[in-house]
Amino acid sequence: MKLNLNIGNKKYDIELNKTNGGSINIKVDGEEFLFQETKKEKKEPSLAKTSLPKRNFSEKEIKAPISGIISEIFAKEGDVIKQGEKVALLSAMKMENEIISDFDGKIKTALIKQEQTVKEGEILFLLD
């Protein structure tokens, strides 16, 4: 394949040839350059990125919004609760936090006890 390129005011005659060994020979104004074609590895799609995290998406979680102590618990396993219903009271420093459910559902597992210290993000209840 032959090309004529104009870069600025200068003309370049370029000739590209593929050699038998798979290299590419590029002649620029008679001067030869040899390029080895890089082998591209066929990439398998990454499993870690494409597979879904191992969790049940039908399960709903109520988490601690802040670290503190569970001072009261208003819901127990088996209770059917509605969105907005309070499930626990979490005391943190001088703040009392009424924890409410963001979902309708049935409490499958209660993971807290009264006076238990919890960390921010810790799961308090699992709902079905």
């Binding site: 005391s91 943190a92 420093m93 703040m95 936090n97 009424e98 409410i100 459910s101």
Partner: protein
Amino acid sequence: MEIKKYKKVSSTNLLAKKETNKPWSIILAEEQTTGYGRKKDYWFSPKGGLYFSIILPKSNIEDLQTLTLLAAFAVAETIKENLEIEPFIKLPNDVYINNKKVAGILTENVVGKDVKFSVMGIGLNTNISKFPKKLEGVATSLQLESKKKINNKKILVEIVKKIKKQLEIISA
């Protein structure tokens, strides 16, 4: 500043939770029958004291925690500016004068995935001339300490302005 004033309520925080969610509106009461602090500790709230709750704008919970701490500074600063008394802040957020408690602050939040509602209640012993026997050694009032009559409304407005300014700074 929108202030809803009541003669007698159970607790300004409790009323605020039912009454309104308009940010920076104030529930003010002349007296509380069941004023409380953290863990439902009783707060002596006879006529003469300053008892109010501030509806806070929806903020992230970390900012609310910081604001609760800074509220004690707002109360202490207001006392100092008005009465030339040097209050002492007992962390996280009680204000003392001469080793006796003069003010308490309690923030209550309703939290789901995010903060749905926040109210900050402040009880400040202003014009209280006498405390029950069991509180005499641990509580005091601005009137007892300064021998002056306190303008509750002025103190209230100054405290709320300072708290508002603090939230603007920390949430900026």
